[in-house]
Amino acid sequence: MVTGTHDTKRETTAREWIRRNFDTQGVIQTEGLSFYYGKERVLQDVSLSIPLDGVTAIMGPSGCGKSTLLRTFNRMYELYRGARAEGKITFLGQDLLKADPVSLRKHIGMVFQRPNPFPKSIFENVIYGPKVHGIRKKSELQDIAEESLQRAALWDEVKDRLKESAFSLSGGQQQRLCIARALAVHPEVLLMDEPCSALDPKATDKIEQTTRELAEELTVVIVTHNLQQAARVSDHVAVLLAGGELAEFGPTRTVFDSPSDDRVCDYLCGRFG
């Protein structure tokens, strides 16, 4: 790491604290989580625990509620009319559904399906979050921007054009910019909602590498409908089936090699979904 040493240190200590207290029980836990859009139930009775280390993938056929499950973790579902979560979710032992969503999202960042940089410069995009959280000093913001872009493996490509519009970047670069933007807030958890679905294979490969590297420093939860991708990037995998039922959750190897649920076996063999 080049700059922002104090930030890295702060993160390490926060992570150590989390490790000491939540290593066994997991960072995010759901218990009997059901989710409704109006009268329609999209998740039923989901209980799982996102481990502190590594990448956890949420897979399943389209429309099974993977994105919804991810969006309960940072309460983004609240933006949609008639959306309602029942059950229990805890984040670092605290009741997530009763937390203040604005401060919760400082700790749980998110990267979306399609790259969605703001119509601002590359630099302004990265420092948007830190500015929201009250950092004003120019030098500090510059350090954060460089550090975050480094972590998202984008720094070398953009260091000479930070003032240019974010839209001047390619799709893959835009998505890494969005990752940098999320990292700049120093979240403990990064949620990724099919981050490669709008990208070509080369850009996908780069994002997957970055994801693996990030998992060394923070907890990553990634939604994907791509089985190969889940196999490549994840350490744990949760398989949801149509109707929003959690059919399988465990280490990626185990789930892929010997799924305990026949329907998951069908899904993994590509027989439906």
Binding site: M76, V102, N116, Y128
Partner: protein, 296 residues
């Protein structure tokens, strides 16, 4: 009687041709009406247009000299209308698009805004007279006229701003919220800046509407003839003012010597028409340019 397929085809083509000609004729007629107005006003008024005409005070019962105070009055009235209405318009649009949701009362308000746009302008004039002139006691003054015009263009501003805000992609809002921004912060720093070109287009259209309106300022602000400009700002704001549309109206109806200066009347009409056409054209050009440059 012969009814071969050839005949059927032919009859259909004839019907098509007749319908097509009628449609062309109808659209040509509306274009012709515009052309006739522009042509008449231009032909009769262009001789009056000169630097003196635009920058000098009127003389001899307005049958000679320039129309400087009317131009200035129209400028003040329009600027005042925009300054007073734009903040309300933008705030209302933000509420409607970002916060209100879709309840029945929001639909009612939206219908109300649309109805407001269709209210005859003389009704705005009467409202302005009753409220600003009498109730608020501003008297017949530039201020009363500007506020009345402000209410008149409010629906235009609200609709343009709401449309501009709605066209900002939801991804921007989600991205800001996901970074821990409050909704107000996301509106202020991301959504509103992205909507500003659209809001400005609405503002230009509002100016174009306000500058040409006669009825709303007839009882609230218009003076038939003032021989000199007011000296102070307070005096300017609190006294009646001359303005282009009312000047044209008074010259045609009230001034007994108006017939002596027909070319000056048409000169004023040409100027007003030119301003309105330029403003509307400018808004359209700007909108297309912004749309082309838009990156999302």
């Amino acid at each position: 009687m012969m009814t071969g397929p050839a005949q059927i085809v032919k009859r259909r083509t004839t019907a098509q041709r007749v319908a097509f000609s009628l449609l062309t004729l109808a659209s040509l007629l509306s274009f012709l009406a515009l052309g006739a107005i522009l042509y008449t006003v231009f032909r009769k008024g262009v001789s009056a247009i000169s630097w003196e005409f635009l920058t000098k005070m009127p003389k001899s019962g307005m049958t000679q000299g320039g129309i400087y105070p009317m131009v200035l009055g129209s400028f003040y009235l329009t600027a005042g209308a925009l300054i007073s209405a734009l903040p309300f318009g933008v705030i209302s649009a933000i509420w409607l698009s970002e916060y209100a949701g879709g309840g029945w009362w929001v639909r009612t308000i939206r219908i109300g805004v649309n109805t407001l746009a269709g209210v005859p302008s003389i009704v705005f004039g009467l409202l302005g007279f009753a409220f600003f002139v009498n109730v608020l006691g501003l008297g017949a003054s530039l201020l009363s006229g500007a506020f009345t015009l402000g209410i008149l263009i409010l629906p235009i501003l609200i609709r343009a701003a709401e449309e501009a805000l709605r066209s900002v992609p939801n991804e921007f809002r989600e991205a800001a919220l996901a970074l821990g921004a409050t909704q107000w912060r996301s509106v202020r720093t991301v959504v509103l800046p992205s909507a500003i070109p659209g809001i400005m287009t609405g503002a230009i259209l509002g100016i174009g509407r306000a500058i040409g309106e006669t009825a709303p300022i007839l009882f609230t602000a218009a003076a038939i003839y003032k021989t000199r400009l007011p000296d102070t700002l307070i005096d300017t704001l609190m006294s009646r003012t001359m303005a282009l549309p009312t000047h044209i109206f008074y010259m045609a109806t009230e001034n007994p010597r108006g017939w002596q200066a027909v070319d000056l009347q048409f000169g004023a009409a040409l100027l007003l028409l030119g301003l309105v056409v330029c403003l509307n054209l400018g808004a359209v050009i700007w909108r297309t340019r912004v749309r082309r440059r838009k990156q999302w």
